[in-house]
C-alpha cells in the first residue's frame, strides 16, 4: 500500500506509530513535510510595506536566516519520523517541499498515485486560538476536500 504521511513541525513519530498500528508494516510510506511559505511571505510583505526601512530590492537582511530556519526545522521533523518508521519496520522515504501545504500534499498524492493520505486532524490550526469545539485545521480540511484517494484523519494532541 502506498501511503503519504503529512508530517507537520511536530508529531511525526506519533503519526507514524499510529499508522503502523492501523495498517501494519507492509506499507510503502512517503513522509512528506511541506514548509508553509505563506507566513514568511506575509512577513516579507509587512516588512516591505510603505514607509518602513526595508530595502526596495534585493534580499532583506534576515531573509537567509528565515529560510535556513525553516529548512532545518523541516528536515528535523522528517528525520525523526523516518527513525520512527524504521523502528516500526516500514519502508519509508522522506521528502521536504515548499509551498502551500494543502496543495502540495494533494499534488504529491496525485503524482505518486498514493492510495492513502494520513494527516493530523488539527494540521494547519497551530498558532490559532482554540475557541469552540475541536475541529479540523484548514490544511486537513483542504486535503479531505481535494484528495485523489482515501484520507486517514488522526485525532490527538499535536
Amino acid at each position: 500500500m502506498r501511503v503519504i504521511c503529512a508530517i507537520g513541525q511536530r508529531g511525526g513519530p506519533e503519526l507514524v506509530n499510529r499508522l503502523s498500528g492501523i495498517v501494519g508494516d507492509k506499507t510503502e510510506c512517503l513522509l512528506l513535510h511541506v514548509i508553509d511559505t505563506g507566513p514568511r511571505h506575509d512577513l516579507e510583505e509587512y516588512l516591505r510595506g510603505p514607509l518602513h526601512r526595508r530595502p526596495d530590492h534585493g534580499e532583506p537582511p534576515h531573509e537567509a536566516a528565515l529560510k535556513a530556519a525553516e529548512e532545518t526545522a523541516g528536515r528535523a521533523a522528517v528525520e525523526e519520523a523516518v527513525i520512527a518508521a524504521q523502528h516500526a519496520g516500514m519502508q519509508a522515504e522522506a521528502s521536504v517541499k515548499e509551498g502551500r501545504p494543502e496543495e502540495i500534499i494533494v499534488q504529491t498524492a496525485k503524482d505518486a498515485r498514493a492510495e492513502l493520505i494520513v494527516i493530523w486532524a488539527g494540521e494547519g490550526a497551530a498558532g490559532h486560538p482554540h475557541i469552540g469545539p475541536a475541529s479540523v485545521g484548514h490544511t486537513a480540511r483542504f486535503v479531505i476536500d481535494h484528495a485523489p484517494c482515501d484520507v486517514l484523519l488522526l485525532r490527538g494532541p499535536l
Partner: protein, 424 residues
C-alpha cells in the same frame, strides 16, 4: 464663513488623508503627503517662508528619526537582536510559555529604548527564525512582537517617535511624562501579556529541545561588545536628556555616530545596508504632513476642533481625556498615527493651557500609540494582521484575532485614561 478658498483647502487635506490611507495604484504615503503639501503651498494656504521656518523649528524631530533608525540598523548589524532572542531561548530552558514571556520582555525593552519600529521590524523576523527552529507555532510569537511594539510605546518618551513629536511641541520633561504615563503603560503591558498568554495557552504550552536552539554567529565579537556598551550608554543618555529637556536628537545622532565609528573601527561597517535600512521616504512624509497640517491650522479648522473638544467635554476633565485618547486612537487607526498626532498637536495647541487641559497631551499620546492595534486597518505595525486575514480566509480563529484588537485596545485606552485622570 465657508468660501471657495476654505473648501478647497479642506478638500486638499481630506484627499491627502484618503490617499495616505488607500494608497491608490501604489502611490506611496510620502508622495501623497508631499503632493498635499505642494498643493497647499501653491494655493497660498501656507507661505513658503512660514513652511521653511516650521521645518527648521522641527530639527529635533528630524534628527531623532534619523538617529533612531541608524541606531537600530547598526545594533542589528552587530547581532544584538539575535543575541537577545538567543538568550531568551536559553533562559526559558525548553518551556514555550517561559520563552513567550521572555520574548515579551525583550520586545518591551527594545521598544522602550530603541522605539516601536525596532521591535516590529527588526525583532519580529529574528523571533520568527528562532521559533521556527524550535518548531513552535510561529504566529503567537509574531503577534506578540507586533503588539508589544505598540503597547510599550508610551513607556518612555523615546519608545515611539510620535511621543517626541508631541513632547517637542509642548515641552514637558521625563518626570511629567512618567507621572502621567508610567502606570497606564505598565497596566497596558500587563493586560496585553495576560490576554495573549490566555489566548494562546495551548500553543505556547509546548516544550522545545535546547539542542534545537541555534548558536548565534556574531559578525565580530568585539563589535558586539562595543555595541552593547554603547547601547547602555545611549539608554542612560536618553533618560538624562529627557529628564533635563536636552534635545533628544543630539543623543540619537551622537549614539548612532558612535556605533558607526565602532563598526568602521572593527571593520564591520556595511554602508550600503545601512543606507537601505534607513527609511528616507519617512522624512518626505513628515515634511509634507507638517505643511498640510499647518495649512489646516491657518484655516482655523484645528482651533474649531479644539473648541468642539472642550464643548464636548463640558466641565468634565475625564470626559475630555477619554474623548481625546479615543478620538486620536480612531484617527490613528483609520489613517496613520503620524498625521493624527500632528492634527492633535495643532488642536491641543489652541486650547488654553490649564493644568487639566495639559494632561490631554498625554491622552493624545496614548491614543496615537495604541490606535494602530485597534484593528488591522491602521498603521504599519499591524498591517501583518490584514495580510494574514486575506491569506487565510476568514476562519473563526482569524476573526477572533480581529476581535482581539477591538476588545482589548479600547479597554487599554479607557483604563489608561482613568489612570491619567486620577493623577490630575
Amino acid at each position: 464663513m465657508l468660501n471657495v478658498h476654505v473648501i478647497a483647502g479642506i478638500s486638499i487635506f481630506l484627499v491627502t488623508l484618503v490617499v495616505i490611507m488607500v494608497r491608490p495604484s501604489g502611490v506611496s504615503e510620502a508622495a501623497a503627503a508631499a503632493g498635499g503639501a505642494v498643493l497647499m503651498l501653491m494655493g497660498g494656504y501656507v507661505r513658503p517662508a512660514e513652511a521653511a521656518s516650521l521645518l527648521l523649528n522641527n530639527w529635533n524631530v528630524y534628527g531623532f528619526f534619523l538617529g533612531m533608525m541608524a541606531i537600530s540598523a547598526l545594533a542589528d548589524q552587530a547581532g544584538i537582536f539575535d543575541m537577545l532572542a538567543y538568550r531568551a531561548g536559553k533562559w526559558a530552558r525548553g518551556s514555550g510559555l517561559r520563552l513567550f514571556l521572555a520574548l515579551f520582555a525583550v520586545g518591551m525593552t527594545i521598544t522602550a529604548f530603541l522605539s516601536n519600529d525596532a521591535t516590529a521590524l527588526i525583532l519580529t523576523p529574528v523571533v520568527y527564525a528562532l521559533v521556527t527552529r524550535l518548531r513552535l507555532p510561529v504566529m503567537p510569537f509574531v503577534f506578540a512582537c507586533t503588539f508589544i511594539a505598540d503597547t510599550a510605546s508610551f513607556f518612555l518618551p523615546v519608545s515611539n517617535p510620535i511621543n517626541i513629536l508631541v513632547l517637542d511641541a509642548f515641552g514637558g520633561g521625563l518626570a511629567t511624562f512618567l507621572r502621567y504615563l508610567l502606570l497606564p503603560s505598565l497596566f497596558c503591558i500587563g493586560l496585553n501579556m495576560a490576554v495573549f498568554v490566555w489566548l494562546f495557552r495551548r500553543d505556547i504550552w509546548a516544550c522545545y529541545s535546547l539542542s534545537d536552539l541555534p548558536e548565534v554567529e556574531l559578525p565580530n565579537r568585539q563589535f558586539f561588545n562595543f555595541s552593547s556598551a554603547t547601547l547602555v550608554l545611549i539608554a542612560i543618555a536618553y533618560l538624562t536628556a529627557a529628564a533635563t529637556q536636552f534635545p533628544i536628537s543630539f543623543v540619537a545622532l551622537g549614539g548612532s555616530g558612535l556605533l558607526f565609528l565602532g563598526a568602521a573601527w572593527y571593520r564591520c561597517l556595511d554602508t550600503t545596508r545601512l543606507y537601505r535600512e534607513i527609511s528616507w521616504s519617512l522624512f518626505l512624509f513628515i515634511t509634507g504632513l507638517f505643511i498640510v497640517v499647518r495649512a489646516v491650522e491657518n484655516l482655523g479648522l484645528t482651533a474649531a476642533f479644539g473648541r468642539e473638544l472642550l464643548q464636548l467635554a463640558g466641565y468634565s476633565p475625564l470626559k475630555a481625556i477619554l474623548v481625546t485618547a479615543g478620538g486620536t486612537a480612531l484617527g490613528a487607526n483609520l489613517i496613520n498615527n503620524v498625521p493624527m498626532a500632528l492634527v492633535m498637536i495643532s488642536v491641543l495647541g489652541t486650547i488654553h493651557a490649564s493644568s487639566s487641559n495639559r494632561v490631554l497631551i498625554y491622552a493624545a499620546i496614548i491614543g496615537a500609540d495604541l490606535g494602530p492595534n485597534l484593528t488591522t486597518v491602521g498603521s504599519l505595525a499591524t498591517m501583518l494582521w490584514l495580510l494574514i486575514l486575506r491569506r487565510r480566509g476568514l476562519e473563526v480563529s482569524t476573526r477572533e484575532y480581529f476581535k482581539l484588537g477591538v476588545t482589548v485596545v479600547p479597554a487599554m485606552i479607557v483604563i489608561g485614561s482613568l489612570l491619567i485622570w486620577l493623577k490630575l
